[in-house]
């Protein structure tokens, strides 16, 4: 069936009747496609399918907010109800991207306000969202129900107050690890802005809002929100207050406990008895996910025993507990799939985890003392123990001071289902602790034995060889994170030429130069971004890339001294874009 008509714009003549019928039929079928990969594939079949898919896509996911302009996204997907937007590159979390770089939500919300009257959901990650943006959001979308902000900044309690007050249908307000402005003069009592009529909240997370909340208002809100399933409070909520909230909401499935700390001598209130708190937990029969413990008082930890057996997810990564304090808890958590913890539990604590959590799927071990010189409480033996006890492990993030190839190899053999392997040996360029060799063989074993691996972060002393291994065996790797590694451009050449699925590449402080970078020219259009900082790039090489690939935006980001006209490139961030260089680049960014 020849399709001669050009252009996707509806402004053209409508397709003939028979084609229209076909498109309607396809639309009905495509409604069922959920995964964006399937949708993307369907949209490439022919123009008719492209149009039909565009009409039926409900959630628009944009992995890099600068890859496409708001206007273009809105023009194509006219029926979207949900937007997921990601902004800054991940290394911004570690202060490598100067503030003011970009990723502002303003142009997006301004474009959506007139175009998406039925917008229900927005999820933003690493974007700058102002109070004014939140106000516009709250005023423009009467059906709005779900706001999730992750690692964003630029807003404060006044913005939250507007959301609370004006979004009558709000079901989800999840604020996760945002940098919330807390100017003392401007703190708004946002919790009390939820009107009496708002009673359909299902999820409320505000751990990152670092100012006290009006507890009476919070309690009242919890009482009237009978659909509330997820509640994560901040550390200004004491353990007494937590107990009251839990009693008002025994139907909770996920709980962020706030401080888990009593306020000494609070207005004549008696000390909370552990047994009383324990009975409250016993009454929370639906709890499967527990987090918080921001200022944990150890005596109260046993209160959670009644729910341990049901727990699927436990986040103790803000609790400074020892192995002995962990054991009574973890020995009851047989159903745990996800466990986040501090390295204060040591190898001993990890042994305990390995003994009880046979279904463990995701483990994250964070460092209490995040410096290169600290003692380090977890080591290679903890890693081996986990690998032996938890064969179903799919995702691990492990911070340590020292490691051995043998341990990493053991994990590669014991946990073949690994999808995410992120090992951070905090001492830069540390070799194998026992043999003194580079860590090449360990990571090599991971890519060789874990065939499903899609995300890898390497560390320790590494030569070009590890990148050769990754290129030869890591064919499914999509995200690669490199720091202080490699010897020559060969490393970069290996991965850019050998990893066909590579989409996100972030490199810092590694001796890779222009030759390595240029070897990726054939692949950059397939990638979401490449970040390289403190490498050996020069502006000549970066300009060459920009010249060869007109749809690539090549940003050179200056040091704070903004010496952008020199030869050496301190920070490079490149990404494909349908709409050319952005217009909001600050003075310390030069787009080649």
């Amino acid at each position: 069936m020849g399709r001669v008509r050009g252009g996707e714009e509806r402004a053209d003549q409508p397709p003939p009747f028979s084609d229209q019928v076909l498109e309607n039929v396809i639309e009905n079928v495509l409604e069922f496609l959920e995964y964006r990969r399937d949708r993307n594939a369907a949209s490439l079949v022919c123009r008719s399918w492209y149009r039909a898919e565009a009409q039926t896509r409900r959630e628009v996911f944009i992995g890099n907010c600068y890859a496409v302009s708001p206007a273009r996204a809105i023009t194509r997907f006219r029926a979207a109800r949900a937007l997921v937007l990601k902004g800054r590159p991940r290394f911004a979390d570690f202060n490598l991207v100067p503030p003011g770089w970009g990723a502002r939500f303003s142009p997006w919300v301004a474009a959506m306000a007139p175009a998406y009257p039925w917008l229900e959901r927005v999820c933003l990650k690493r974007m700058t969202v102002s109070d004014a943006d939140l106000a516009l959001l709250a005023r423009s979308f009467p059906s709005f129900r779900d706001l999730t902000l992750i690692c964003c900044d630029g807003f404060g309690t006044p913005g939250l107050a507007t959301i609370a007050e004006l979004c009558r249908n709000l079901r989800v307000l999840d604020l996760i690890e945002n940098d919330v402005e807390d100017e003392d003069e401007q703190v708004a009592d946002w919790i009390s802005k939820f009107p009496e009529a708002t009673a359909c909240l299902e999820s409320l997370s505000f751990e990152c809002v670092n100012c006290p909340v009006n507890f009476a208002a919070l309690e009242a809100l919890v009482v009237r929100s009978r659909s509330l399933r997820r509640l994560r409070v901040n550390q200004h909520v004491s353990i007494h207050q937590l107990r009251r909230l839990m009693e008002r909401a025994p139907q909770l499935t996920q709980l962020g406990t706030g401080s888990f700390h009593s306020v000494p001598g609070a207005a004549g209130a008696p000390d909370l008895d552990v047994a009383d708190l324990e009975s409250t937990y016993a009454a929370s029969k639906s709890l499967v996910c527990l987090s918080g413990f921001r200022m944990l008082e150890h005596e109260y930890l046993p209160a959670i025993f009644p729910v341990c057996a049901n727990l699927v997810s436990l986040n103790l990564s803000y609790a400074m507990i020892t192995a002995e304090q962990l054991k009574p808890v973890i020995f009851q958590c047989h159903n745990l799939h996800t466990f986040w913890v501090l390295d204060t539990i040591g190898d001993d604590g990890l042994q305990a985890v390995a003994k009880s959590c046979k279904n463990l799927s995701e483990l994250r071990v964070f460092p209490f003392d995040a410096s290169e010189d600290s003692e380090g409480s977890v080591s290679d033996s903890g890693l081996v123990a986990i690998s032996e006890g938890c064969p179903k492990l799919r995702s691990i993030l492990y911070f340590c001071q020292r490691m051995t190839n043998a341990a990493v190899m053991a994990m590669s053999k014991n946990c073949p289902d690994l999808v995410v392997f992120r090992l951070c040996i905090m001492g830069r360029c540390r070799p194998d602790q026992i043999t003194g060799e580079p860590m090449d063989e360990g990571f090599g074993a991971i890519v060789m034995n874990c065939k499903k691996l899609t995300r890898l972060a390497v560390s320790g002393l590494l030569t070009d060889r590890v990148f050769e291994y990754i290129a030869n065996h890591g064919k499914s790797v999509r995200t690669l994170s490199v720091a202080f590694a490699g010897n020559t451009d060969l490393s970069l050449k290996y991965i850019l030429e050998g990893c066909p699925n590579l989409q996100k590449l972030e490199i810092r402080d590694s001796p890779f130069g222009d030759a390595g970078l240029l070897s990726g020219i054939h692949h950059f259009y397939n990638m979401r971004f490449v970040w390289m900082s403190a490498c050996k790039l020069s502006s000549a090489g970066c300009k060459e890339v920009a010249r060869s690939l007109p749809h690539l935006v090549v940003e050179v980001i200056g040091e704070w001294s903004q010496d952008l006209d020199t030869d050496a490139v301190e920070k490079l961030y490149l990404y494909r874009s349908l709409d050319g260089p952005r217009e909001d680049a600050p003075p310390f960014v030069k787009i080649l």
Binding site: F94, E177, C429, P431, D563
Partner: protein
Amino acid sequence: MEAVAASYVKDTELRLGLPGSEAPEKPAMRGGKRALPEDDEAAFCKSSPEDASGLRSVGAAPVAKAQVVGWPPIRTYRKNNFQARKAETGADASGLFVKVSMDGAPYLRKIDLKLYQGYKELKEALDSMFKSFSQGESSRKEGCNGSEYAITYEDKDGDLMLVGDVPWEMFTSSCKRLRIMKASEARGLESKQ
């Protein structure tokens, strides 16, 4: 006491003259040096077999010991959480990440006061941070020398103070935010001392 105060003030004088003027050269910022020379590579990541004990090799000691931005890769959110808790036991540490604003500049910056050993380093960092913005300004004004701006800070009580008057430790524990303003505006503060 006054001589000390005067030296603090001189230290914190924000010099925004052109490169090559009185301000000392800061090698790390000069472009030509940024391409890593061979010996830096050695400092980065060489480890001789004798280091089997896992000791970090320190080819060029200053490089290895210097605090590296963003390493280990822990989010600021998480780091701040523990900073506050460690400080609970010790001195009140309410001045860690502070905002820095410069009158007229469109962008705020945030800096970690713990990264600096004293006023001189802080001044250098601020100098380089805002040079990009103010170089435009100073080139428009002919015949001006370096000291157009003064660094002030807002302390725990909300008072605006001139940076450099108090001992460094006292400053870091009480500074809530920094503000770089025109020297003329700051003159009122100076006379208070």
